[in-house]
């Protein structure tokens, strides 16, 4: 019952405010790889979408949780889906199975990485195009197991 009340912070994007300068990506790669390269080393990606931009990032639904053979993926107390890279054995199952491609893999190391809703990108954006909003986990989480056949 407690689960029903549990919430998690996820990123919300306001494309109309984005100028495509990718300060968010640089801040993110700083968090994960201590570099401001952004790009492949950032968990958040801002992509051109016609004349505008779109955000590509983990939405904390947790479809990957049941994929991990060693239990390196867990939902933390604050609701976010967390990859413990000391436990991770680099199999890429979560990377391959993420339906939106938000579990990322950089060439820098074998273990993948993902958005942890830390807010570094939100703070880095000069235009306020990103914000963290709170949603109920129960509303977003999904049961992963494939039903038999194509149902």
């Amino acid at each position: 019952m407690m689960d029903k009340l549990k919430t998690v912070k996820i990123l919300k994007f306001h494309p109309e405010k984005c100028d495509g300068s990718l300060a968010c990506e640089r801040a993110c790669s700083q968090v994960h790889f201590k570099t401001d390269e952004g790009g492949d080393k950032s968990a958040i990606r801002i992509l051109k979408n016609g004349n505008s931009y779109k955000m590509h990032v983990c939405d904390q639904r947790g479809l990957c949780l049941d994929m991990c053979p060693v239990g390196a993926l867990n939902r933390k107390k604050n609701g976010i889906v967390w990859l413990d890279k000391d436990i991770c054995i680099g199999c890429q199952a979560c990377v391959g199975f993420c339906p939106i491609g938000a579990m990322r893999k950089s060439d820098a190391r074998i273990e993948p990485f993902k958005c942890i809703s830390c807010g570094a990108c939100v703070r880095a954006c000069p235009n306020g195009a990103l914000e963290l909003i709170e949603v109920k986990i129960d509303d977003i989480k999904k049961v992963v197991y494939h039903k038999q056949g194509t149902e």
Binding site: G62, L65, D66, M67, C68, P69, V70, G71, N74, R75, I87, C88, I89, G90, C91, Q92, A93, V95, G96, F97, P99, K105, D107, I110, E111, K141, K142, V143, V144, Y145, H146, K147, Q148, G149, T150
Partner: protein, 774 residues
Amino acid sequence: MAEGQIPIEEYETGNTKHKWDLKKLKFAHRVIFEYNYKKGEIKRGYANRTLYLNLTKKEIKEKPVTEDMKKKFTGGRGFGLKLMWASIKSSTRWNSDENELLITTGPLCGTTQYPGSGKSLCLTISPSTDIICDSNVGGFFGPYLKFAGFDAIEIQGKAKQDVVIVVDGEKGKISVETAPLEETNSHLINEQLTHMYASENTDKSRQKVSVVSAGKGAEHSYWGCLNFSFYDIRRKLPRMKQAGRGGLGTVLRDKKIKAIVTKIEKFDGVSNNPADPIALAKVGTKLHREIRDLDRHQCNMRAVGTVHLVEIMDEYDLLPTENYRFGSFPKASKIYSPKFFKHFTKIIPDGCWHGCTMACAKTVDGFTVMTGPYKGQKTTVDGPEYETVACCSNMSLWDPLWVLEFNFYCDTYGLDTISTGTAIAFYMEMYEYGILNKERCDGLELCFGNGEAVMEFMHRIAQGNKGEFTKIAAKGARRVKDWLIKNAWGTPQLIEDCGMESKGLEYSEYVTKESLAMQGGYGLTLKGPQHDEAWLIFMDMVNNAIPTFEDKAEALHYFPMWRTWFGLNGLCKLPWNDVEPANNAETDEPSKVPEHTQNYVEYQNAITGWNVDKEELILQSERCYNWQRAMNVWLGRGRRKDDWIPYRSMGPVTEMEYLSRKDRYDKQLVEKLGHSEKEVEKMKIKEKIELLYDYRQAQYQKLADAVYYRRGWTPNGIPTPQKMKQLGMDDPKMLKLLQDKINEDEKAGLNVWGGKYGKGEKPPNIHLKYWEKW
């Protein structure tokens, strides 16, 4: 049952919880001998040494892996063959002191990025066949053995009392310890030893231990399998996979080994130290995505594992029922995959090695055992897989619960489900004909469909029952044939035709009557009738894609070589063609799955740093395949006469079988044998059966001719020294032995084609010594 996003700690299986006095068990251990070794590093997939133990001489040593050895034998099963060649004699039999049990890994084994990369390859001289049997098995043992420092473990000699062998990769120590108090049956001993040897009392620590064992059944039969454990952190118990075929577990127990344990300190995604981890992750992720998107529309492995085959085989008349008499059965829908899906625990992941997203290793948790020593207990059943279900169909058992019961006891007793099921199905048919009866079966009513009698028979095997039938029947179909014939019970030809064994090994579960190529896929094999060399039924029978002898021979060259390759590298075959790229059907050679073949080229290069192409992969296999055939020749088998198959696998043995598919057979008498419809109408069934019999036997011999020729063997099936040299296998002792055997055949007049060629037909080559000009 738990389904989706449950924290790992909270999974509940409903199994009986065991409490062990581990201190007492451990206290009873006495170290007999031990060996400290320097922990090494894996370089590009190789530990670069193998481990040798001699239980008789109490000796442990390391053997180096040379570059030459890698070049010729690649790894895995290839290494096993090389090591055996150096250690056994041509007179070695399964229970000889010098017989070896080998567990090998392979350079790609232990990779986590590419699905199906945790296989161990086990080899020994089989009690069933007297030649080498190799078996490919999942579980954590192989990868852990390598990460503990060894590409293979080679065990020779016998202990005087029950021992466990511990390869401790944490401390760098091998020890052989007495183990008097542990259970023998696998589901229990695997649990005991996993808990005993885990460094800490946590699931993560237990996941770093893997156990190989065989149960009580393996002690008293020729069907002993090896159970390889893999600890499941969700179910909180060691599950297991079986190295089933050929009696490896029988050899383990003959050596008085209760279990082999390996543990590691740590491992991660690059423990193989691949040459190119980036390329490796890319090719692996590509396959993960394919499985994600396509599996549910193709094989549905992630939901039901290999059981999805049951309904397909039934539909195509290939599901063996009542000892392969029929290929489909009205009751078969009772054991279709949805019936098992209902029982399977629906949590992910179910791979038998980390990172295998094909995840075919399904389980039923909380199954209540119905008979025998564990009656009433709740347990996890690993499986069933297709073969096990089809064994039950072969015994005419149509209740999923009896399938689970059979599966559970086969596993924990260490009995190979395939051999056990196929052999019992044969006994049941003999029972139906009165050749066996209650009295001759030690009081068992072993008729088709009697699940209770099947289980009672298995319990008796495990107890070491001394009844004449139990003792002989536990040695398999071949020995029972001999026994029946010796007692003059039934006609020898009927007995030989019905019992589905070749080379002494029982068949696996496909009806091959209408596919000549698949008859060769079972008969023209190294270890015996097992579908791991080739599965050509659809290609041959359904799609008619390989109509000529030459076509079939090409398929019986390529596919056995290709599939051998998985065993050289420590891989599983399933991710190759049990999921296919969406555009596979449009490629030049869909049956080879060209894109996946290319994946494997990239994969091997990414690990080893080599620069091979797909032709080189086949060459790697051809070297080892021919080497193994040559060793079979050395061991006294491996010629045309040894590639004999029972007629049940070729065509209808009995009138009932003929009548059950009368239209089909009548049509063949017209279309293939050239009789007129009127003639056929007048013929008696017996006559028609005989005509088909002669025709199909002759076809098989012609197929063997074509295949031997394609493989570069003599007309009697011996690999030629010229072929071996071409492949770079220049061991002088082996070349000489082959030449000697060929000379022997020459003298005995055996160096001739087996088929009788009529007008307009010709043998593969008019020169019987065609290879001498190479």
